[in-house]
């Protein structure tokens, strides 16, 4: 463990994070909503703690090792989650206690989108913008941003990137050099966000809402500047824009990169994960539409289509926007959507969940076992997109799946122990672990009414989900700390 280098990077990252509070501060000053003081104080505290970490060890050099990368990433997300709560704590409106503020901040950064605030419409604009910004920073990953802008990280950048990036194949890079890769990812991310904001604006949102919602859409977050979420606008065009950009953001960004570089849609067509992703969302959409139309005669077919399309995409990509209460849909539909969020987005996207490619691999693995029963001597390799996948990757996916389920069960039991009912606890853990946001039962609209202990547990769930479990769990093993 190279604690000095870790401390140096951590300090530097914190100092840089403090700069991201400047835009909300500007908004606070411009709109005079009385939160300028809170933001100033938060910047001062974060910047000075970052510098006081960095300055004493700024000269220490050395490469980050694989293990150091895990520690830096986990520490950074933890520290950021806590420091990011400062504006919520300090501002007069909303007046939040510690557990709530931390929950809100981590929910933002991990792009979960679960909120404890009731009366979002009444919040000052700076705080609203800050919540959206948190999601946007967490979406592509603030570490990836740091790798793009800090050339000093070098190979160490790869160790960090690996610990933060989602998906089973963590070594895939768009370009040979990690800084370039990180820059490309952010170019794509920023362009998508820009396009999304313009489209929202064209669809009739105010500039503030358009920018704010573009942040949480492209980050697959789910925070909104209104209590009623996207439903506030009650506009088909806004919903279509949201659906398109949620769908695009749930796609592996390296496909966007390839498509953009070669000016062709071929990469999408040829990618097995993308096809599965599209087919899965399409299938669930049809089931929802059918279910709604059949069971609720009061709902007209176009209305059923509209509602089911929006919610399938929103829940399926783990965004968590809403236009009405899908929680009260009939039959198995709410639960189906919740289960869909376990699949989540594609690897290398901003989406949460277990990632489509893992499910694809699990499915292929299952099919292989069936084939083996028929042809006991056959050697069957698992293929994705025509290319055989190394057994090592398949093993890792199984390990991930098993751990995910185990973590889920432990958190579920913990939550029930805090006094939550079964449906609420189940959906809350699912919504947080998958970085989805809204749950069912008591946590359908907000998480404000659950106990503090439950909130901290869910914070853990959100971090576990965002860092894909292993990055965090590895720190809890004794052999990690043994030198």
């Amino acid at each position: 463990m190279r604690f000095r280098v870790i401390q140096k990077i951590l300090g530097l990252l914190l100092a840089i994070f403090s700069l991201t509070l400047l835009p909300p501060l500007v908004i606070a000053v411009l709109s005079g909503d009385g939160t300028a003081g809170a933001f100033c104080f938060a910047i001062a505290v974060i910047l000075s703690s970052g510098l006081s970490l960095w300055l004493p060890v700024r000269k220490s050099a050395g490469e980050l090792k694989l293990r150091d990368g895990f520690l830096v990433v986990v520490l950074f997300w933890l520290v950021l989650g806590i420091f990011g709560a400062m504006p919520f704590l300090l501002a007069d409106n909303p007046h939040m206690k510690l557990a709530d503020a931390v929950f809100e901040s981590i929910s933002g950064l991990t792009t979960t989108g679960a909120t404890v605030i009731v009366g979002i419409d009444a919040l000052p604009r700076s705080i609203l913008f800050y919540r959206q910004l948190l999601q946007w920073l967490g979406g592509m990953g603030i570490i990836v941003l740091a790798v793009a802008v800090l050339p000093m990280l070098g190979v160490g950048g790869m160790q960090l990137y690996r610990a933060e990036t989602p998906g089973p194949m963590k070594d895939s890079k768009l370009t040979p050099r990690i800084t370039e890769t990180a820059k490309m990812l952010w170019y794509i991310y920023v362009s998508l966000t820009g396009l999304c904001a313009l489209s929202y604006y064209a669809a009739g949102m105010s500039l503030f809402d358009a920018v704010g919602h573009s942040f949480s859409t492209v980050a697959i977050g789910g925070f909104s500047t209104h209590d009623a979420s996207i439903g506030y606008f009650d506009s088909v065009s806004v919903e279509i824009v949201a659906v398109i950009f949620m769908f695009l953001s749930g796609v592996n960004f390296s496909l966007h990169f390839l498509a953009w570089r070669h000016r062709t849609f071929m990469p999408y067509r040829d990618d097995a994960e993308f096809r599965t992703y599209a087919a899965l969302l399409g299938g669930v959409f049809l089931v929802c539409a059918l279910g709604l139309a059949v069971s609720r005669s009061s709902v007209a077919l176009p209305e059923a289509l509209r509602m089911s399309l929006f919610h399938t995409i929103s829940i399926g990509t783990t965004t968590g926007f809403s236009t009405g209460d899908f929680q009260s849909w009939p039959l198995f539909l709410p639960l189906l959507l919740l289960f869909l969020s376990f699949v989540g987005g594609c690897a290398g996207s901003t989406g949460g969940g277990m990632k489509v490619v893992r499910f694809l691999l699990l499915y292929r693995q299952g099919m292989r076992e069936i084939k083996r029963l028929i042809h006991p001597n056959a050697i069957i390799s698992i293929r994705v997109g025509g290319r055989a996948v190394a057994d090592r990757v398949v093993e890792a996916v199984w390990g991930f799946f098993a751990t995910y389920v185990a973590v889920f069960v432990v958190l579920l039991l913990g939550l029930i122990a805090t006094g939550l009912d079964q449906v609420s606890a189940f959906s809350a853990v699912a919504a947080c672990l998958n970085n989805l946001g809204p749950g069912l039962g008591a946590v359908s609209y907000h998480y404000g009414d659950i106990s503090d202990g439950a909130k901290y547990l869910l914070c853990l769930a959100m971090l576990l989900g965002r860092l894909e479990i292993f990055t965090l769990l590895v720190l809890l093993t004794p052999s990690f700390w043994r030198s």
């Binding site: 190979v155 790869m158 070594d171 890079k173 370009t175 040979p176 050099r177 190394a390």
Partner: protein
């Protein structure tokens, strides 16, 4: 630069490590996922799994916009076909291939755009053989590097008590050696580098790097140490490619014995050699070495493909009385362990090979690059172009050239003449300038120095 390296073996990975640190975009292709994973963990590069000469694999590696392709897999044929594919399908500008077989090397007409489009052939075995041969030809030298086609050489030698100049200022060198032009370009004292001036005092134990014409090398070296007689009796351990080539190159001037433990190989080597003796046996066999008069041997050279065997047999030979022992060592960590104290000279194949590659990667008109001190420093031969207005070098005295820190100019080759650099030497257009850069991070600045400023043309 965007570079694709085919083959993640010894050469491939050490080249990748060398080039990665210089802000190049490197993609490595190999068929072994383990090799690639190791590289990926250590270096900032991209890896592609697959057969190096398959068009689809090359396309995935980004051959479309690559500036250079470096084919160093262990198969000559794969390397050649990969270059052909890169040329035909992707129009890659520079194609370098490792060709080991002499059979191919002796027909340069094979390698032209209308036959096999390989721009540069490299043969690590040949490089290592030449490198070792020069070391044997100059007893006492630690490193001998050719520039300008052998017109001038850069030599590293250790200073010992008994050398007339040891303990004296460098200023006295010309008086000691009237009529001989030489320049000390750098002194490595323990772990620091000293840029010599007239007042620098040579200490025993210093590694002195000097430049001179080949015929003067022995005379200059005699200033730093008591001179050994020429090397006559050489034992080579290992009859592989390098061992055999070295024996063939030296067998007319020295008494060569090769020890090879594989009977078939030993027979094959014996058939190809005229004068040398091939001994069947283990190079680390004490009795065999004694029997072959190890104590009267000038040079014991361990050139098998196993680092450990080379180190052990050299240590044994040294203990038994061989005057100088050399060992071929691939792993950099081993070199640190044994050089200086245990083994006289560690020959690093990477260091011998990388230079010929670096020359193609450097910007500006760089003809030759030799890597020094295991890559930490470089000796560069660059051609000065342009005139006083368009170049920062031409028309200026050496004192006036804005050299980056830690850099010295050793010599200038003008046509057929070798001019050893003095502070008032003026550089003319088309001069070959030989520089020593003691800190690799300044190599970029040196490259820029030799680029002609386009706006002035």
């Amino acid at each position: 630069m965007k570079i694709i390296i085919l083959g993640a073996g010894q050469v491939g990975s050490s080249v990748a490590a060398n080039l990665c640190s210089e802000a190049n975009d490197i993609t490595v292709v190999d068929q072994s996922a383990t090799h690639l994973q190791q590289l990926q963990d250590r270096l900032d590069l991209r890896t592609v799994l697959g057969h190096a000469s398959h068009p689809e694999v090359l396309a995935r590696a980004g051959a479309k916009d690559a500036d250079m392709i470096l084919a160093v897999t262990n198969s000559d044929e794969t390397n050649m076909i990969a270059c052909q594919v890169a040329f035909t399908m992707f129009r890659t500008p520079t194609k370098i291939a490792r060709i080991r077989q002499n059979q191919y090397q002796v027909h340069p007409e094979l390698f032209s755009p209308d036959a096999l489009p390989v721009d540069v052939l490299i043969s690590p075995e040949q490089e290592v053989t030449d490198y070792t041969k020069r070391l044997i030809e100059f007893p006492g030298a630690l490193q001998v590097l050719d520039f300008a086609g052998g017109k001038v050489q850069l030599v590293a030698a250790r200073a010992f008590y008994g050398g007339p100049l040891v303990g004296h200022r460098l200023r006295e060198l010309p008086q000691q050696l009237p009529g001989i032009d030489t320049r000390v370009t750098a002194i490595f004292r323990r772990h620091e580098v000293i840029l010599p001036s007239g007042d620098t005092v040579i200490e025993a134990g210093d590694d002195v790097l000097f430049i001179a014409a080949p015929k003067h090398i022995r005379a200059v070296m005699s200033e730093f140490r008591k001179l050994d007689g020429p090397n006559r009796k050489v034992i080579i351990a290992g009859g592989g490619n390098i061992g055999k080539r070295l024996a063939m190159a030296l067998e007319n001037t020295c008494h060569i014995k090769i020890i090879e433990n594989n009977e078939t190989r030993a027979r094959a080597v014996a058939e190809d050699l005229q004068h040398a003796y091939v001994l069947l046996g283990d190079a680390a066999d004490e009795d065999l070495l004694r029997e072959e008069n190890i104590e009267g041997t000038d040079v014991f050279c361990a050139l098998t493909n196993a680092d450990e065997a080379n180190i052990i047999s050299s240590m044994l030979a040294k203990r038994l009385g061989a005057k100088t022992v050399m060992a071929l060592i691939n792993r950099a960590a081993y070199v640190d362990l044994v050089q200086r104290d245990i083994i006289d000279i560690a020959i690093s194949p990477q260091q011998a090979t990388i230079g010929s590659l670096l020359a193609h990667i450097r910007r500006g008109d760089v003809v030759k690059v030799h890597s020094l001190r295991r890559g930490a420093a470089e000796a560069i031969e660059a051609i000065a172009h342009g005139d006083r207005n368009s170049s920062q070098v031409v028309g200026r005295t050496i004192d006036d050239i804005p050299l980056p820190p830690g850099t010295t100019i050793g010599a200038v080759v003008r046509g057929k003449d070798v001019i050893v650099a003095h502070h008032d030497t003026v550089i003319e257009p088309e001069d070959h300038v030989i520089l020593v850069v003691t800190n690799k991070k300044h190599v970029n600045e040196v490259e820029r120095l030799f680029q002609v400023n386009v706006t002035f043309i």
